[in-house]
């Protein structure tokens, strides 16, 4: 663990040094590409501003994640219990994935306004499919033997679902959620780009428009940090809860 952190620190440090040197050697103006030192200073100078907007984005991301997860899980369970849902809903779900969700962002803003609502829905739409499809896959791929055992034990189908299929699918759900944690901030930021008065996406556009490229980079790094933290957290919790699946 310590070794891993050290390795990452070295890579980051080297990348930042190369970046700084490149900026100095080429003499590229800071309104095109500021060096990391300058970005760092902007981050410190505007820490409060960035923090404020980051909090807005974070709350959109968390709300979208929560709602998308609940919706994704419910859909998977519904698909498992209902044969007609599988026939009618599943093709529709797959077909819906051919619609580029980003392209819906202007519509969502039109329908739901400039507030957090449209961003939450955008996030939800982005993570819904990864969550639903991984969990549904997990539910369908319960080891045959477990189901045979349940049959010989005269288990009811609802108990088989909740006591065998669902726990057996938790590792799949965990990997779906880890994926969702990375996608979710993208959804929120796209929503903010289309129309917002708050959030990191808004701040980035604003800074860009005012040629404060150092601030834009600082906001971008805040977003990256948030995504990494979210991914790590979800990954850790997921692994902790499905520790039994290691080596099976």
């Amino acid at each position: 663990m310590i070794k891993k952190i050290r390795d990452i620190a070295i890579v980051v440090l080297v990348a930042l040094t190369v970046w700084e040197l490149l900026v100095r050697v080429t003499g590229v103006p800071s309104f095109i590409l500021p060096g990391p030192l300058r970005v760092g200073r902007a981050a410190v100078d505007h820490a409060e501003l960035i923090g404020e907007h980051a909090l807005v984005t974070l709350s959109e991301v968390l709300a979208g994640l929560l709602l998308g997860t609940v919706l994704g899980i419910s859909t998977s369970l519904y698909l498992m219990v209902s044969g007609s849902a599988r026939r009618l809903l599943l093709p529709l779900m797959l077909f819906s994935q051919t619609v580029p969700i980003f392209a819906l962002a202007p519509l969502l803003t039109l329908w739901l306004g400039y507030g957090v609502g449209s961003k939450i829905v955008m996030t939800l739409l982005i993570i819904y499919f990864p969550v639903a499809s991984t969990f549904y896959d997990g539910l369908r791929n319960t080891p045959r033997g477990f189901l045979d055992l349940a049959t010989t034990m005269n288990a009811s189908s609802s108990r088989t679902l909740f006591r065998i299929r669902v726990p057996a699918a938790l590792p799949s759900l965990a990997s779906g959620l880890t994926l969702a944690a990375v996608y979710a901030p993208i959804g929120a930021v796209i929503g903010e780009w289309v129309g917002a008065s708050r959030g990191l996406g808004y701040l980035m556009l604003l800074a860009n428009g005012r040629v404060k490229i150092d601030l834009m980079f600082a906001a971008l790094f805040a977003l990256v940090a948030m995504t990494i933290a979210l991914h790590t957290l979800v990954n850790r919790v997921g692994r902790r809860l499905t520790r039994w699946s290691v080596g099976t």
Binding site: D148, L149, A150, T151, T152, S156, I164, P167, A168, W244
Partner: protein, 213 residues
């Protein structure tokens, strides 16, 4: 054809359909079509009277040994009989491991836990589908003895491809080969027979001959 209170072995090479027969009796999907009937002497539906144990231990990896042993009650929504579960766990020698999850146990211990779970079902007919074939030789012979001891007096159908196993443990042996099913006469001491007893060796060599012919 299954004698009450006895061990009936269904012996045959891999892929000949032994497991399919067992799965039919257990009421499980076989992926084929079955024309015929399976009847019990008391006329009750067989499906509700069987307990099933397979080559894979089928322990649920997210439950500890105790919860795995009590799985049946939990799946039927019945009161858990934890006292009886504790007894069976100690009977198969896992008292010190009752709170462990399957991945913390050895292959032999996992099959013991599966045996306890099968016993917990307390059904008159036990269907064992090569339950010992993935174990090492020593563990396998120990498991044969343990299973025979704890299942004494129950009707057991054991599917196996191992003539030595059938020779040790069977009251009667049915041989299933590509040419059909035939009953093999066993005139010997009742099981369980020592692995190097003359009877065992004799039955084993006759079974082996029959398999090869």
């Amino acid at each position: 054809m299954l004698e009450g209170g006895q061990w009936t072995c269904l012996l045959g090479p891999s892929g000949v359909g032994k497991s399919t027969i067992l799965r039919l009796i257990a009421g499980l999907h076989t992926g084929g079509e079955f024309n015929g009937s399976i009847e019990s002497t008391d006329g009750r539906p067989l499906r509700e009277q069987v307990a099933y144990m397979a080559q894979a231990d089928l322990l649920l990896p997210w439950l500890d040994v105790r919860a795995n042993v009590m799985l049946g009650a939990s799946l039927r929504g019945e009161e858990p009989m934890s006292e009886r579960a504790g007894q069976l766990i100690s009977q198969v020698g896992l008292s010190n491991h009752a709170d462990k999850r399957p991945h913390e146990l050895s292959g032999g211990m996992r099959q013991r836990a599966a045996l306890a779970r099968t016993l917990m079902e307390d059904k008159p007919l036990l269907l064992l589908d090569e339950p010992f074939s993935s174990l090492d030789a020593r563990t396998r012979s120990e498991m044969q003895e343990l299973a025979f001891e704890v299942l004494l007096g129950r009707t057991v159908m054991l599917v196996t491809h191992d003539p030595a196993e059938a020779a040790r443990i069977a009251h009667q042996v049915f041989l299933l080969t590509e040419s059909g099913l035939q009953k093999t006469q066993i005139a010997a001491q009742p099981p369980i027979r020592g692995f190097n007893a003359p009877d065992t060796v004799d039955i084993q060599s006759r079974l082996f001959d029959a398999l090869r012919s």
